[in-house]
Assembly symmetry: C2
Homo-oligomer: 438 residues x 2
């Protein structure tokens, strides 16, 4: 039609005209019958199983302690922020642009300065949908099929599965009680150089390493930065757990020590406030963020969650986290006690300086993959070491046990049940403590 | 260490021991100096520009009407649901599994039945982070580089840019006043068949098509399903806007008419409640959802937003949406009046039966890409037709104008300002209405 005001008539649907009235009957069209499978993209992961609820003894996943969720604070923050600026929910990106809710970025800039020594502006922070999206974005920035990256030999399973799906070669670097070993890293870098391969990044979880729980000290951080500089390889620093150090100041972030040059830093509120909120972040210079931003094609991360955190954190984060840490530390002690009681010397582990997981070595005769599988059928979920390791032999008899979510009682009963399965399947522990199992 | 309780000592950081105390100085490590550019993945999009706030006259983006955001309802829902079950925020996926918050899926199942004729169970619905993630997941399920898809000739720009980035061949199917033309679709399918190409899907926005605003009637829907069945091509049905039909019952969804066979259906709360919340969904049989679910590696979509919607919608959605529609309809009338007043017969458009955008044809002499570029420098943002079309010649002189967010006054002034730019750059409209602009 030509410009000008038109009568409102336009397309009229058959039938009477209550607004969006219910449709009473739908005619059946002869069904599309063809083999959909032949149309699917190649190399899809296997189908998911239907969800059957959480296992009774749930030692997997980054779930947190429900008792230490700061519910009243979040509720108060939701009320305050929605009353003040809730109408901005009518716009994508609120009124803060694509980097995310500005008050939350401003809080993060202050927090990163105070806790990690990072000097950055709010515009060097991109809010992401959890740190998982941060990992996806950094991967999308650097990686193409056939590329090579360096990564800690035991590391976050989700990072490993992503790299596998991207067709990227992973070089695992062994760890010791202080994280990634610099002699091993130097060898790996030299070997790659000899072969003419320039790795795309060195991925590290330096503060409360997942799963080993180690913290890389400051001198080793300096060594790592120097090695990376010499080989021209960026560092991808994942600091998801760095708020959960039991005692003492943590070392400065690699990003802080490098003054942002050649380092991309990511973090999350999942472990410090709530995993379900799905709020993480990337810290990088604008030269990097401006390349990452066009890859974030989701029209922004969830605004309500950013607003609630942006309101809650400035007033309450620093008081909340120590309470959470004390609660987690107590659960870790329960877990270590239960393991000692149930497994005796068959379970070896270091007492981690923070975090939500314990990395346990069982005798070599234990096949952790099979143990995890059998245990799951009895309602006990654990992460088998091979899924958390680049070196399947190293991971073979190891387990990751997350302790934040289950209650003290569930931890005790779950470890007893796990010991029973392990003893039955592998003969260890040889003697089980004389307690009734739940 | 061996199992057993350990003293809490472990890794001790230098310095005194206030919990996570501030770091006082960070040693500078010689900076990593290398050309990062050479490490980036190939074919990255161009860098983002820094955000400089919304333009003064913002006719782009799916922003909604702030006045019709149901803020009080959302606030009340947040209070109720957080008080009742807020502690589930300590777990990923709440206690609903990977498909998303179950009360929200239960509401959707009822709504889809009542409004779109879809009979589905909550377990055939996957909650996504906006319908953009739904599009990404369906693309990941089907598409590999070099594949072919059929798509409406004028369509959502974000779908086009995604397909371009995936290296997928796009065959545009012309539209008329009732959406995708079936004669053109039949020809395109036959031609592809002749060339031995089986398309991966037919993407359609049948109810309030973006950008043309048309609604595909029920007989044409049946034709579309029949054509798709005959050629063994799945239909990808995007129903983002279907809640925003001004009057009358909308036709049943393609998914409903096909009883789910060969159709994947997506939708969103972005246009009906709030775009910033980032909550969309996929409806598909379990055979499809079980393949999509492993591709959703984000540990769940934002829980707070799902919980708030899951609490708000059952009681308030059906009362809220008609109010929103009336507000949108009034803004559309303001926009059409302003266009008639400012552009006269130079702006041609149909009065759309719903939605948040108007698709405007300007005289052939107008290069919409250049118009959009110049207009932006004067604070007027519009979507140029070529970015919303598979056929750049068809889109050349067309614009998409979104009217939900700007106030009536801003719409009037913005259209006047646009007419002034257009007149100066292209000589049309030849005479501008005698009103002061700005």
């Amino acid at each position: 039609m030509q410009g000008g005001k038109q009568p409102i008539s336009t397309y009229q649907l058959a039938g009477s005209c209550h607004s969006n009235e219910a449709i009473r009957e739908v005619p059946r069209v002869s069904s599309v019958s063809f083999d959909l499978t032949s149309l699917l993209a190649p190399d899809l992961p296997p189908p998911a199983a239907k969800w059957a609820g959480f296992p009774k003894y749930n030692f997997v996943g980054g779930h947190n302690d429900p008792e230490h969720l700061p519910l009243e604070g979040l509720l108060a923050a939701a009320n305050t922020v929605l009353k003040r600026e809730g109408r901005t929910l009518a716009t994508y990106g609120l009124e803060s642009g694509a980097l995310g809710y500005r008050p939350l970025r401003a809080f993060l800039a202050r927090k990163l300065k105070a806790h990690a020594g990072i000097a950055c502006e709010p515009d060097e922070i991109l809010i992401t949908s959890g740190s998982l999206q941060a990992i996806d974005l950094v991967n999308a920035l650097f990686l193409a099929r056939g590329d090579t990256v360096l990564i800690e030999q035991a590391t976050y399973g989700g990072s490993l599965s992503r790299l596998a799906r991207l067709g990227v070669n992973v070089v695992g670097v062994p760890l010791d009680g202080e994280g990634m070993r610099m002699d091993a890293l130097a060898s790996a870098l030299a070997e790659l150089q000899r072969r003419g391969i320039r790795p795309k990044y060195i991925y590290t979880i330096p503060t409360v390493q997942n799963p080993t729980g180690t913290i890389m000290g400051e001198p080793r951080r300096a060594e790592l930065l120097e090695l990376a500089r010499r080989h021209g390889v960026p560092i991808f620093e994942d600091e998801c757990y760095s708020d959960l150090v039991w005692k003492g100041a943590r070392p400065p972030a690699l990003y802080a020590m490098a003054k942002s040059e050649g380092v991309i830093h990511i973090g999350s509120f999942s472990k410090s406030v709530s995993p379900a909120l799905r709020v993480g972040y990337i810290v990088a210079g604008w030269d990097i963020l401006s390349r990452i931003l066009p890859l974030k094609t989701d029209a922004g991360s969830g605004a309500l969650e950013q607003m609630v955190l942006g309101e809650f954190c400035p007033a309450h984060f620093d008081a909340h986290v120590p309470k959470l840490r004390r609660g987690l530390r107590a659960k870790l002690e329960t877990l270590m006690e239960a393991l000692a009681e149930q497994f005796g010397t068959a379970a070896e582990f270091d007492d981690p300086p923070g975090g939500i997981y314990l990395w346990v070595k069982l005798p070599d005769s234990v096949d952790a993959l099979r143990l995890a599988q059998v245990a799951l059928t009895e309602g006990i979920a654990v992460n088998p070491g091979p899924e958390w390791s680049t070196d399947k032999a190293y991971g073979r008899s190891r387990l990751r046990l997350c302790f934040a979510h289950p209650s003290h009682e569930t931890i005790r009963h779950g470890v007893a049940a796990l010991a029973e399965v392990c003893s039955r399947e592998f003969g260890v522990p040889a003697r089980i403590a004389n307690v009734r199992r739940g």
